[in-house]
Symmetry: C2
Subunit: 306 residues, 2 copies
């Protein structure tokens, strides 16, 4: 069972590209020709909505899989179409993995220990079945929330260790109101720094050959000063960095998340890549081509940092 | 559109029972005869696992629907069986609502604003469809996490207002390690008290006729001293109280969550009700009967408080 952080960092280094494409298939922005085809095949049903999402994702994955090491489907945009949407999520995971990509499920899941175990088993490990265990979602990694403390994290770490998977714990999110809780002073530190120390301790037993832990951290690109502090507090954590592109973060803003040698972080872009055809004002039929172009531009933008 | 908090408090008062049954259908504890029947119909498939969960839930719902106002399915135990499990979650919601029960989805969801909108629309409101909007999960309420601040909560409050739905924000969870983050001192208060003040402000615009907000709070039964303080900080919040029963909380422990007139809170029990046949060492075929007995015992236990 190959260690998650080794798999991810090796793939980043093979492709010389520390980026991840966020698969956030907002229905209203999916090209009309894809939705029209689904309507013809499935009528005006939830199935047609789910198939539109899946077809769109396949186009994006095909276009970027030899350039980008990982995708990060945001589960909200799938489960908001019910079980048909959830099936499209599963099929997206399978398709991306078949194309050689690492899949980070963005679910921000968590709960008390016994429930966190169910999430960990279902997303990353294996669940109880009739006479044994079975893999279900088999994602490579999952984002999780820290608010419940260690009890909610340990079950994930167990499954990570057992099945070569990873988690990214929310430390500093990229949204403006992150400050309301994460910037509160706790002793001499901010709350997110306190969480960072916990994350560092949770990940200590799960460090791979490349020096990074299977327990990573989400650190938004929109708070570069804070990212410097967090980089020091979590030396062995891979940072999953949202907020680049559409949310306003640039290459200089993500720089503090990396080590000077260019390791230590993977930067996400969602809308900026998958809906690039809109920003570039191109025909919707070229959505995949535009996504590839945008992914290459992002790779170059980050390459200039090191 | 009737206000969620009014609907819930009215139903609690009709049944004189401020409890909610947690539908946490841990596969390994579902009676063997249910699983055997599903195996015969569906073979050793994920569908058979999902059908076992659904049949078990239907038995519990039938047994308690005239005694208990609400059920709280824990989404982890459904989605850990993939899309078939997620379908069983949807079918559980529909079945419980047809039997007159209010359904609180326990998903502890949240994200940055635009993503929180997708969760809010999918779980509580309506999502974009081919030429308009459509309801998907249509749960009555959902549990959400506070770590991202207001941005992540507002989209839920919007859907609550529009569709008569509710949310319960995690303030104090019932697990032992809750203290690692929630008991950190922030100025003169603990972190959970700071979150309580935010929750109070988020709920201010959504107060119903009975004086309670559509924005409620999760406050664990396992920290009764803290619950007293939180009750004062959140006068208009309904408390959803986990931790009674299997997690160790008793009636005296949940008392501080209530007002002296018996309003203001709804207490959850999951394992203690749905798997009562195990604790009572009864035949598994009597699982529904045992659940009803346990639900009535819990109702009496709480009635003695007021």
């Amino acid at each position: 069972m190959h260690h998650f952080a080794d798999r991810l960092t090796n793939r980043i280094s093979q492709l010389s590209n520390p980026t991840v494409v966020g698969l956030d298939p907002r229905f209203s922005q999916i090209p009309e020709f894809i939705k029209a085809a689904a309507l013809i095949r499935h009528g005006k049903t939830r199935e047609a909505a789910a198939q539109s999402i899946l077809e769109f994702n396949k186009g994006i994955i095909d276009a970027v899989c030899d350039v980008v090491p990982a995708v990060k489907p945001q589960i909200a945009f799938y489960e908001c179409y019910g079980w048909e949407g959830f099936r499209a999520y599963e099929e997206t995971i399978r398709y991306a993995q078949r194309k050689g990509m690492i899949v980070i499920g963005d679910g921000k899941r968590n709960d008390i220990g016994s429930t966190a175990t169910a999430y960990a088993e279902g997303h990353l490990g294996q669940v109880a079945f009739f006479d044994g265990l079975v893999s279900i979602l088999d994602t490579d990694a999952l984002t999780v929330t820290p608010y419940l403390g260690s009890d909610g994290i340990k079950p994930f770490v167990d499954q990570c260790q057992k099945y070569g998977k990873g988690i990214f714990v929310l430390v500093r999110t990229s949204n403006p109101s992150a400050e309301e809780i994460q910037s509160q002073a706790v002793g001499d530190h901010l709350m997110d720094e306190h969480v960072a120390s916990l994350v560092e301790s949770w990940g200590r037993e799960a460090i791979g050959e490349n020096g990074f832990s299977a327990v990573g951290a989400v650190v938004g690109a929109t708070y570069p000063e804070e990212a410097k502090i967090l980089r020091n507090l979590m030396p062995n954590q891979l940072f999953l960095v949202p907020g680049y592109g559409a949310q306003g973060g640039g290459a200089q803003d993500v720089k503090p998340c990396f080590y000077p040698n260019g390791t230590g972080a993977i930067v996400n872009s969602s809308r900026g890549i998958i809906f690039a055809y809109k920003a570039k004002e191109k025909d919707e039929k070229s959505f995949a081509e535009c996504a590839r172009e945008a992914a290459l531009e992002m790779k170059e933008d980050l390459a200039r940092l090191f």
